[in-house]
Symmetry: C2
DNA sequence: TACCTCATTTTTGCATTCAAAAAACGGGCA
DNA sequence: TGCCCGTTTTTTGAATGCAAAAATGAGGTA
């Protein structure tokens, strides 16, 4: 197994909660599970630690990182900055095909909202946001965006929404699409920032902001 | 030597050009130089590779990353987004002490500009930008900012400036300070974006954007 | 000379090993 | 019983060893 594969496999386990936040990371077992020795596993752990998904305690092993309310706030703030930037750049660089894709995803999203299908709604939603970042055509931005959003994905795309919030979000998305069509970079940036600010409010309100991803089992001794 | 120390030591070598961009990284020699074995060195290399400072070629070792003109553009763009965000947040959160520090640094910078001391000017300049990020009080942002800026630091803080550009930069900095004093977040964000956009133009104009940090020796076989 | 081939050396990536640190256990004592 | 201290076991972090891959270089051929 390649180094990058080990990293992404582990990242997946951490993000999916397969290794719950705060839990001790059992090197031995993981080695057995992934069929690798400790050396490459530990290399991957250091990489993930640098990315904030794992915390290394000197001489005491590593644990899956646990997000605090502050972390969630900070991540959402950075996400706002990155999406706003992506929006600005996307307006300059987006192709007609990419725009068509986003329009289609938007239409599908509206449909799912009408039917009350939150899961499918979120899927389209995410497609749109990711497409905007892709349209910005900046690999550095893409990597940072992926790193930041992956850590708040569950909070962002699992939080339930009350009807008013949901329709507000939809109106914001109308604005996003319009701004894109008009290639109005600063307008789009503005809407995206507000959109994410509102999302953070929802997430916070839903109680995700406290130990966000730590919901469910919590094997850590603080 | 601690893991983090190895990483930051190596990062320093790469950023300072002690290991020139594109150069092969000699594991053996570095182990000897740092007095460590290959295992911790390789762990550090993977971390730096994830950060973009090193490229790993499977079965062919690692090399110091070489920035292309596109990389420089992309990094500056992301930097714009991050500084704009930092400005917004700083206006909400900056303390009077922090504001005083920035004012002092600004005054010193003006003095150095009058005397034509570019090095000292840049030192104060960097202090100001970093202080704004610190005032934003968002560790996630700080880490990303450090990662992005460290990679373009040499381009940013070494490029010579023609007098008109220099005085424009200074006027922009007056605007930055004023916006901070007025706690005008969006105004500050706007100025910072323009400031960095202009900086990128200077850097590009100075030819830094092509193999930016590859100036000097270039031991790589492309 | 230019180029191809194949043996030799070096380097890489990973498994294993080893010393030191931390945790777990258990006996002694109040 | 509850707690402290010394011992054993486990786990961690790093060095070493080893097989496979790549680079090097010498010799042969056109």
């Amino acid at each position: 197994m390649l180094h990058e594969e080990v990293v992404s496999r582990l990242r997946g386990m951490l993000l999916e909660g397969e290794i719950p936040p705060g839990a001790r990371i059992p090197e031995r077992e993981l080695c057995a599970a992934l069929q690798i020795s400790r050396t490459p596993l530990r290399e991957a752990l250091k990489v993930l630690a640098a990315d904030g998904l794992v915390v290394l305690l000197p001489n005491r092993g590593s644990r899956a990182a646990k997000l605090t309310g502050h972390d969630v706030r900070n991540l959402f703030e950075v996400c706002q900055g990155l999406e706003a930037l992506a929006g600005e750049l996307a307006c300059k660089r987006i192709s007609d095909e990419q725009l068509a894709e986003i329009s289609a995803a938007h239409a599908a999203m509206v449909k799912h909202q009408r039917r009350g299908d939150l899961t499918q709604y979120y899927r389209c939603n995410r497609t749109i946001h990711e497409a905007i970042v892709r349209a910005a055509d900046n690999p550095i931005l893409s990597v940072l965006y992926e790193s930041v959003t992956s850590r708040i994905r569950r909070a962002r795309y699992v939080t339930p929404m009350v009807p008013e919030r949901w329709s507000l979000a939809l109106r914001e998305h109308e604005g996003i699409l319009n701004a894109l069509l008009r290639r109005d970079g600063s307008g789009l940036a503005h809407i995206l920032r507000a959109h994410l600010r509102h999302k953070l409010e929802e997430v916070t309100h839903a109680g995700f902001a406290e130990d966000s991803e730590a919901m469910g089992s919590d094997n850590a001794k603080s």
